[in-house]
Structures are given as structure tokens and as C-alpha cells.
Symmetry: C2
Subunit: 381 residues, 2 copies
């Protein structure tokens, strides 16, 4: 192990696990099968002897398996939840073994539309089957089995990661002690589906998209950039945008009266769009937003209480006051359904101006909440 | 006059007024000049002898001069504010003469990027100068002068129309008795500028846009459609979208697991995008959203109270509880600035789930508010 930063897990590595080789393909919710399937994952901290200290972290739309640490000493940025995972942090790697895997349908090492279809030797592109949140969780379950973990101490995640967390609670109730969905929901609102649809139309309307067959050619960067810009607005609150940008101009005192980016907020959103295009596959954006749109934990009966009745874990549900994409009322619906099932649930609505992105930013208060919840969920000594 | 529908102004006609012929071009805020300028306008009801019963209606981003009535008997749709303008309606054409003109920069008969530049005989395209809300109001003032109106009884409008209304109050304080900004603001939020920027980038990223020189060729329909879709989401509230669409599917009982529009909300937004592309010019969308972004009534001092101190009209400021694009706190800022100037102001926050679009939909309550405000503003008999 290389020299560690204080509180950092240090140098980490990405690993790969392949399963579901024919004839044992994974049966997907859409009716199709998928296999063999490779999953990219990372592990931080050591498993104890009976593997009872394992925590699965589920990432959001644009995340990946690289939740903490750095790949090498010169790596400019740590993993996406490094503030929460490491020695002495909320997910304390001195105590717990933290696992994070890239979702299927993604583009960071797990099977997705940009992977090679073993049946043809070509890139899947849109021949990749539609995957749902439940399918993503099935694949995570295969990884957990492979690692020899009988029961996860905790499954945790924010946003679309929180959807996976909730799915774990109902798909594999005996396999999870503690469940932490953050800024999440049992189903997207019509508004959120609308924003997802705008992003997809921007991608699919980009002439470079070519029905998804752009691999090795020019990518639909304009469409994907626009999808990210609109998404990014929904991750912030109006107030946090006001505080961060207001009506300030970018690098000039007065209006130029042209159609270039003039306001700081324009410049910032453009920049975020451009950065995203460099690191994310447009087709994966289509697949994962569709998985989010399809997710409805209340189905097939329409009764969320009934769906959650099978859960056996203890829950800590966290929402954020200024999150207008997955508003607190959605978390409260989950809490209410759990309580009506007499399931052990704690609820915290963080008072924060950061909007949906608060699950990545409100480190101190989340650390306090999660640290004590993880201890409470431990077997008595 | 043809046969009238009950409460309708009946058949109306579009008129044109041309002014600012060289060397008397209009001096624009951006430093450039524009002229000659044609303005499209409509008039409903009769002027009284001293022309003291005239009401100017200012339209929003996607509106036009056709606020009421129909152009011919088979016209499928009346003007955009027909519910509010006509005999016995809020803007009662038995009493008042209602005038509505298309903004400069627009695409419905007034000078804009799609007009012919008299200097070159070619379409302006992006050679059209940048126009601001203040410039739009200057042009309206020229029309009002031409019509021989010394003082308008009222200037009224919603959204970007409300910005023009506020500008009237400070640009020509002696020329307006009553001011009614609805769902409006003294300045856009960073969030709203961000949404406008997304729309513009979608248009300008469409290969058909060709730096604005698409006239007579394929238009940037995909980009403009996306701009409209994202705009449309911001005009509705989350609750109204939930009520209208929920998570219902379009014309099918189950998911098809494809990337076509599956949810009703997707289908609706797509449809609205397609309809908009048929009737609106993409470059005008760029110009008018820029005018909205630039608008800041508090400038040049940064003090809104000071800017409004010159106003002499009485104000009725109307906001909508669920409007998250121009939230009530923005209207309250205006009201507060007016009160600190001892200016006569009434404020109403409509309790409505319709979001920003409520100014087009909450006809009954707005009719009650506006009818009495117009009567109150009349000279004592």
C-alpha cells in the first residue's frame, strides 16, 4: 500500500467479475437474457472472518465503481464518495469492508451498450437489452454471492443508487441488515420522467447518435452535453444556484450582447456538459435513465406498503429539504409504508440548500447519522 | 363584423405599423440602431373620444399580437388570451380598447431575425441586433404614440410580458395609470437563466442551425423542439404534471422496453415540441430568451427600490403559489420595493397548482382581481 493521505483509503484498484455464462444467462425483467456479464467493482477495507462487516454502495446515474481512494499517486481526483468512505469516515474502512460495483447498462467496466456482445464480437450498442433497477440488483447479488457474503451489513446509495437500495430490501430481504436510501424515491415523478425524456431526445436527436451506432466514430457529444446540463440544473436548488452564480457574468464586467455564454451559470453548465461527455457513454445515459423511469417499487399491485411488507432490514431514510427532483415527500411515502408494516425505520430530512446533490456534499451531518445507524445495526457485543 | 361567439370579440385582423425609418432609427440598448421597424399589432374594442380607455397587453416568450378573437370563421383557435379579453370579460372590450403587439425580435409580423434587412435585402438572421426588454417597450411606445394615445389606462402581461409591463412603469411613468405584472420578476434567477441556456444550446447545437442561416432551408427543428420541451416542464408544477400524467403509459398497458416515448408525459412533451417548431422561429427563441436573461430592473444601481422610485402608476402584482420559474418571492420583492416608495400597490398570490402557466389558466380569479382593479383605476364619475 502506498503512502496514504489522512483519512483516505489510499491507492485502490478496479476488479472484474464475470458470471452468467451461457446456458446460465441472467433472466432480465424485460423478458430477454444477458450473459456472460462482467461487473467492475472495487473493495475498500478488509472483510472480517465471517464476512459480516460488508457494506454495498450503489451509485447514481453518472457514478461508477470508483467510490473512494485513488488509482495512483498522481490521480487528480479521488472516488465519487471519498468524503464518506475511508479510515475513520462514515463508512469506516477500519471496521467495514465497503464494496461498490458499476451497474449493468453502465459504461465504467460493467456490461453495457458499449461492451462487446460475445455472441457477435461487435459492440452491443442498442442490441444491449433494456435493464431495470431490479436487474442491476440481481447482478450485484451475483457479485455478493461470488464474494462469499451471506448477509450484507448495509446497502446504501443516493438517487438512482437509493432505488437499488430499496430494491435490495424487497428482492433479498434476508441478505441485508441495514438499508440506507438517500435522496431517493419509490418512483419518479412525471416531472422527473419529463426531464429524463428531454435528455434522451437531445441524445437521440444528435445526428452523431446514428441509432446508437457511433462507437469508433464521432460521438453524440452535443446531445449528451445538453442532457447533462438539464440534469445538472435539477441536481441543484434554485437557492444554491443563486448563491453560487447569481446573475454574475463570466470574466467580463458588461454584457457583450452576443449568443456566447455570458452568465457564469451558462459557462458552468456548459463546462459540466463538456466534462461529462469526456467520461460517459451516451447510450448508457439512455439505458440508466430508462431504468430510473421504469422503477416503481409499488408495482405490481400499486400498493407500496404491500411491496415493502417483505422487507426485514432496518431502514435509515434520508432526504434533503431543498431536493426538488426527489422531494422529501417521496422519502416520507417510503417511511410511512415501512411504519405501516411495523418495520424499523428512522427518518431524517436534512436542512440543506444544496438540493439533490446534497447527498454528495452534506458530509458532516450524514456522517453523524450513518455512523450511529451502522453501530446500532451491529450485533450486541 | 361576422357573427360573434358569446363573449368573443369575434373576427379580428392583424395590422402593421412601420416607424424608425433612417435617419431616425431606434437607438437600442446594445449600442446598435434598428430601422425601419415594422410592428404587428391587433386592437379589440373601440377607443373612447379622449383615448383614455386603452389597455396594452404584453405577450410572453412564445406569444404574439393575436391575443383574442379569430382571424376567420373557420379559425380553429382563438388568440392566446381570449379567455380574458372580450365583451364582458376581464379586459372588457365593451369598455376598453385592448391593444397587443408582437415584440421586436419576435417572428409573428414584427421586425426580428427572420425579417428582411432593408439595408441588404436579405434575411437578418443573426445580423439582427440584440434587443432587450427595454427596446421592446420603446417600440411599443412608438406604436402607442402613433395611435395618438397620451396615457394608457393599463399595461398588463404575464412572464416575459410582465417584464415589459414593469419596464413601462419606469421608462414612461406618466403614460400608464395602471400596471399589472403577472407571474413575473424584476430579474431572472440563475436557475431560469440556466434553463434558457440549455434551450439555446440545443438550438445552436442543431446542425441545421448553421449560425442562424437556415432560412429557406431545413430548420433546426430538433434543437427548437428540445428547447420547448424543457421550457414546458418549467411552466408546469410538479403537482400539475402528476395530476395530468402521473406515471401513465401512452396507449399501452405495459412497458415495451424500448427508447420510443412510453410514458404519457414524454409523448405530451414531444408533441408540444413538435407543435412549437411549426409556429415559431428558432432565432427568435434565441433573441427573446436573451432579452429575458438580460432584464434586471434593479440596474444600473443594483437597487430595485431606487429603479422603481420613478413609477407613478398604481400596481396590481399577481403571483402563483406553485410557480417555481418565477416564484412568488420574486413578485414580493417588487411589491416590497414599491411599498418602500409609497407607491400604490396591491398584491395577490393565487393558490393554484398550475405553475407558471396559471396566468393563462386561472381565468375566474384573475377576472375578479383585474375587473375591480381596472374600475378602481378609472377616474371618478
Amino acid at each position: 500500500m502506498a503512502v496514504q493521505e489522512a483519512g483516505s483509503i489510499g491507492i485502490v484498484e478496479i476488479r472484474y467479475f464475470t458470471f452468467a455464462a451461457p446456458p446460465n444467462e441472467l433472466q432480465l425483467e424485460c423478458g430477454r437474457t444477458l450473459g456472460p456479464i462482467t461487473i467492475a467493482y472495487e473493495m475498500y477495507g478488509e472483510m472480517n472472518a465471517d464476512k459480516s462487516n460488508c457494506i454495498l454502495v450503489c451509485h447514481a446515474l453518472s457514478g461508477d465503481s470508483h467510490a473512494a481512494g485513488r488509482y495512483h499517486l498522481d490521480d487528480p481526483k479521488p472516488g465519487w464518495w471519498d468524503s464518506m468512505i475511508g479510515p475513520g469516515k462514515a463508512f469506516d474502512t477500519d471496521k467495514y469492508c465497503v464494496i461498490c460495483s458499476n451497474v449493468i447498462g453502465g459504461c465504467k467496466g460493467s456490461a453495457g451498450p458499449g461492451s462487446i456482445d460475445p455472441a457477435t464480437g461487435e459492440v452491443y450498442a442498442l442490441n444491449f437489452p433494456m435493464v431495470t433497477i431490479s436487474d442491476m440488483v440481481q447482478a450485484q447479488k451475483a457479485l455478493v454471492d461470488y464474494l462469499g457474503i451471506r448477509q450484507l451489513l448495509c446497502v446504501v446509495g443516493g438517487s438512482a443508487g437509493g432505488m437499488q437500495v430499496l430494491q435490495w430490501a424487497v428482492s433479498y430481504p434476508d441478505m441485508v441488515r441495514l438499508i440506507i436510501p438517500i435522496c431517493s424515491t419509490a418512483r419518479l415523478s412525471a416531472q422527473a420522467i419529463g426531464f429524463d425524456a428531454v435528455g434522451r431526445q437531445a441524445i437521440m436527436g444528435d445526428p452523431n447518435w446514428m441509432d446508437g451506432n457511433y462507437y469508433g466514430k464521432s460521438i453524440p457529444s452535443i446531445g449528451l452535453g445538453i442532457a447533462r446540463m438539464v440534469g445538472h440544473i435539477t441536481y441543484l436548488s434554485e437557492k444554491s444556484m443563486h448563491t453560487k452564480f447569481g446573475r454574475d457574468l463570466q470574466d467580463k464586467p458588461n454584457f457583450d450582447y452576443d449568443f456566447l455564454t455570458e452568465f457564469k451559470v451558462e459557462s458552468y453548465l456548459s463546462y459540466r456538459g463538456d466534462e461529462f461527455v469526456k467520461r460517459f457513454d451516451a447510450n448508457s445515459y439512455l439505458y440508466i435513465t430508462k431504468a430510473m423511469d421504469y422503477f416503481d417499487l409499488a408495482q405490481p399491485t400499486g400498493d407500496l406498503r404491500r411491496s415493502l411488507s417483505v422487507a426485514k432490514s432496518a431502514f435509515l431514510v434520508i432526504s434533503v429539504s431543498s431536493d426538488w427532483l426527489f422531494p422529501p415527500y417521496m422519502s416520507k411515502e417510503i417511511v410511512s409504508a415501512l411504519r405501516r408494516n411495523n418495520i424499523d425505520v428512522s427518518y431524517a430530512e436534512l436542512q440543506s440548500d444544496y438540493g439533490h446533490d446534497a447527498f454528495l456534499l452534506e458530509v458532516d451531518v450524514m456522517t453523524r447519522l450513518i455512523t450511529s445507524f451502522l453501530e446500532y445495526g451491529q450485533p450486541a457485543e
